[in-house]
């Protein structure tokens, strides 16, 4: 074999495997879009005609529209709570940074390590005592607990690159602790806070295990409705909502990318 051929061959193989992996991941999307356009009332590929009735249903059918709003509401509240608490927590641990805070950090990350079904059960047991079952606030509190570690990780990462002396400088220049936090620390760790908020929103938005345990009739989140629709009668509206979510994600990603690219134009 020629020496030059080997790297080219292995490169081709790597690229081919990369594409195979991508196709494997994206294949479901190729199914979701056509299925969402079926004129039938059950999950099927459209044959002679297409219809947007399932998209319309997402708005007209209150079961869908109210669950979407409920999920949005829960996700927004969770994001605000988890981001605030997680950020303050990360800053506190960063400031103190001793051996004790290391243990505390591991403890705080526990919700990520424990399997979802286990903490769902724990929430269920505790929430029964508190009378928080089947309430929006009950779900928000549970989701906040799940999301705090995500924020803690992203904000801590940002803080590890932040010079402690910058904070000290601000204090020596006469800024109170709160002013330092607001004007110096937070602006410098904003990327970590935003990333944590994004993770929290997405996590809460499609979280299903805990919600199944904590709600019954009054609180219906979107993932629960999807779940019920699939187990009851395989509603093509599930494909429609999936398609909408995929599109929204793509739009968000493109917006983000185009924003990143702009500064290079200077």
């Amino acid at each position: 074999m020629q020496p030059a051929a080997t790297p080219r061959l292995s490169r081709t193989i790597v690229i081919a495997l990369g594409w195979l992996g991508l196709i494997f991941l994206l294949a479901p999307l190729a199914v979701v879009f056509p299925v969402s356009l079926t004129p039938e009332r059950y999950l099927s590929m459209p044959t002679d005609s297409i219809s947007f009735q399932h998209y319309a249903k997402l708005i007209s059918d209150t079961r869908w529209s109210s669950s979407i709003l409920t999920s949005l509401w829960i996700a927004v509240l969770t994001t605000i709570a988890a981001t605030t608490i997680g950020t303050l927590c990360a800053i506190g641990l960063w400031r103190l940074s001793g051996r004790l805070t290391q243990y505390l950090r591991i403890l705080l990350l526990a919700p990520l390590i424990v399997p979802p079904i286990v903490h769902a059960l724990a929430f269920y047991r505790t929430w029964t005592d508190f009378n928080w079952l089947d309430t929006i606030s009950g779900v928000v509190i549970a989701h906040t607990v799940l999301c705090i570690p995500l924020v803690l990780i992203t904000v801590s990462t940002s803080l590890s690159g932040f010079d402690r002396r910058v904070e000290q400088a601000a204090r020596s220049l006469g800024a109170s602790t709160f002013t330092v936090l607001r004007r110096i620390v937070v602006p410098n760790i904003a990327p970590g806070i935003l990333a944590g908020a994004a993770f929290s929103f997405v996590t809460s938005w499609d979280e299903v295990v805990t919600v199944i345990f904590l709600t019954s009739r009054k609180v219906m989140t979107m993932p629960i409705v999807i779940w019920n629709s699939l187990s009851e009668r395989v509603d093509p509206a599930v494909a429609a909502i999936s398609a909408v979510m995929i599109l929204l994600t793509l739009i968000a990603v493109f917006l983000r990318l185009s924003k990143d690219r702009k500064p290079q134009g200077h």
Binding site: D163, R165, V166, Q168, A169, A170, R171, S172, L173, G174, A175, S176, T177, T179, R183, I184, P187, N188
Partner: protein
Amino acid sequence: MTSAAADYLVVDHLIKQYGETRAIDDMSLSIPRGEFLTLLGPSGSGKTTLLMAIAGFVTPTSGRILLQGQDITNLPPEKRDLGVVFQGYALFPHMTVEENVAFPLEVRKVPRDEIRRLVAKGLETVQLTALAKRKPAQLSGGQQQRVALARSLVFSPPLILLDEPLSALDRNLRTQLQEELKQLHRKLGVSVVNVTHDQDEALSMSTLIAVINHGRIVQLGTPYEIYERPRTQFVATFVGRSNIINAAVLGRDQGGTVRLEAGGHQFTSTTSTGAAIGATVPVSLRPERLILTTGTAQPDGLAGTVAEMTYHGNTTQYVVDTAAGQLRVEDRSQQLSAPVQPGTAVTLTWPADAPCIVLADD
């Protein structure tokens, strides 16, 4: 106010204990207003800990710090009103130069017009007016240093603290900024406490130097006093590498001069010592004060042999083996027609005021 001008900044029996070790081991000093005090010492000597204690970031285990007669030991850093320039400058990366300098004024609720005026004046002082809209990342090290300085000066603090302000810069820039700092100090008349491990910087910039070692202030004095009359062996060798020879005290003359003997050579020192006659004392001899002569042996000098010679252009460094030990000689005058080669027999002499009796280190 009872505190005299001489007690502008007072450090009173300060101790900082970390577990078993004392970073600051009973330090006391008192400096007048308008001085440029440099805390000079090797790394780990406690000089930065002292500076951070004055700034308020290190809580002393015991002792007091007074500024203008007011006890500031327990005040948080933001209440001390001190201008601190941190190592690495610690500029706010998300703010422009202008915003950085305006920050201390904004948190003090200074009216907006006044802020604009003071910031403009501050940037002019450090010659950065043209770069006002830039972010710190777009500035060179020297420029960042000037921003940090302007930011710490803009609110007219009673005391400026500098934590190794020039250590991150290359040598040429360092010399230039040393000059600028000195000028600024003269012009504004502010009191400064500076920390460095660079003895050249300490000698050239300061009006006062506190040499610190093992958490203690070994000597406090003017650069001239520190260099010419070191109190201990450590000061003599840390500030400008001196020769230390052990000499026996032979006696005292009426004028107060001490007669000494080392390596069979008798000489005198104008510095005093409490040592008894017959005792051995360390004596510091600066390499550049030693005069090296070849040829006929001088009866008045210390005989020796050149062991090493290094030619530096403006100076020639020798290491000379003598009966009193190995001595470093620096020939700055270049009076010798050519560098003396190793192996040559030489005689060392020195002016009467050169030998300085020092205290042995613990």
